[in-house]
Assembly symmetry: C2
Homo-oligomer: 309 residues x 2
Amino acid sequence: MKENTKSPQTAKARPKAPAKSPRGTASHDAPYDTVAIVGAGLIGGSIGLALRERGLARHVIGIGRRAESLKLALDRGAVSRVTQNLAEGVADAQLIVVCTPVESIVEHVTAAAAACRAGALITDAGSTKRQIVNALSGRMPRGVRFVGGHPLAGGEQSGPLAARADLLIGKTVVLTPTSANTSADRRDAATFWLALGANVIEMSAAAHDRAVATTSHLPHLVAAAMAAATPQKLLPLAAGGWQDTTRVAAGDVDLWMQILRTNRADVLKSLGEFGKVVASFDSALRKNDDKKLAQLLRQAKRIRDAVGN
Amino acid sequence: MKENTKSPQTAKARPKAPAKSPRGTASHDAPYDTVAIVGAGLIGGSIGLALRERGLARHVIGIGRRAESLKLALDRGAVSRVTQNLAEGVADAQLIVVCTPVESIVEHVTAAAAACRAGALITDAGSTKRQIVNALSGRMPRGVRFVGGHPLAGGEQSGPLAARADLLIGKTVVLTPTSANTSADRRDAATFWLALGANVIEMSAAAHDRAVATTSHLPHLVAAAMAAATPQKLLPLAAGGWQDTTRVAAGDVDLWMQILRTNRADVLKSLGEFGKVVASFDSALRKNDDKKLAQLLRQAKRIRDAVGN
């Protein structure tokens, strides 16, 4: 870690303990002096809460465009200081985590890389990785490291009010390092997410996007299609099964547009695979083929039971 | 309610207070002297627990085929006496509720009707209603009433161990009376389910089956297809969205086979409607038609937000 040369801005911004935090005040031997969070919504806010509750950073800088969101993050104790000036906000950070909507991540990583100190590590929380990793490939200034990340956490809620210090505990974070990364980069990125309570796995950005097309983006489309296929007048008969199956369709439309747009080909491929299975169910029902229908339901149950909860 | 002519069997079977019940011992002025529950699984067991906890019945007779299940229901305090002999079990009941898998309900209602007292009311908890109501039409012996019911409760769990006294609280029970029913039949059936904490709505069996094809059976197929379309090796990347969307696919395969089989035409129709919406999503994604994609996602979110949780 770099020597501690604090700017006047951060020097005067001593972290206040968040009201609910048992360990809110980071000790002077915190692993990070300054962490900058670009986009303090559900994920960014949760990272901030976890960093401060766990005493992992002396300063947590919240960076964003909207003053109201920043104020909420500050009021919740998710960050110790806020700014709308990205360059200023990242200037003293050893670690910068970009948690903005997926289509603005490249712009924010690029801006952060241009303004941060040599040796700083940048990671992100984007739900798709290929476009981001490709766009940033070879564009980091000398001494600045970027390792793409995707915490598999969140859900249908968004914004700093939904943030929770325990959001990442036990969750999986996928890191997508490239050949441009050293083993130290990979270790440092993993160390950050592990410190927040997450599990870390590494894969290529392409493999990640292919996988989450099926495990995350397809469920969103399926839930949305199920909800959209339900006439309003039948909603009084929508019980637990309908509620579970459609829950994620309540997610933020703009965020999901960006996710689907940046993973279009893989999502279409997953949708095609899903369509084949739906056609098998339809055919088994139509033909009174109980053996086939039972086989499909058993296969589904086996896979679902393997995950639990 | 009929005069209280107790048989030796029921007379010797005084209810014991369930261990966890604050009001476990039914008072002598309980609304029902004897309620018989055919099939003491998740729904039947929950009805028994609620009846006893609320002091609604002096005797709750659990009737079933499998001695182990009956013993579990008795041990949990869901019933006060058990028997594998349906005719004997229903002999003294004013109210009989048949909670067996949907394809055996007609048989059990018919057997109960032949063995119960005149004036007894029979209701059921079958997830599909048209086949049941049609099969029983005109087949009740003189003085025995049947009003079909469907509590929209339950989920992926089953069996008496999953039963809970509060399962029906705030849930909707659909009753499907026919022209053979008097207003007293309808009132008595509604009174029973309302006493368990449920809300009651009435509709025709055909309208019920058409509606739940979309709100319950389609979600099950969609969840199962989504789970079956997920390769095992991707499960480590299955997070909250996948878990919610597929949850009901863990349901009992045989119970769901019976539900789907007895509502085949309506389920196929709902599946067709769902397929059209999925095709719209596919087309919007394929054509980069952001306007259409956003419109579909907004429509889905609006419908999902209307339900909550």
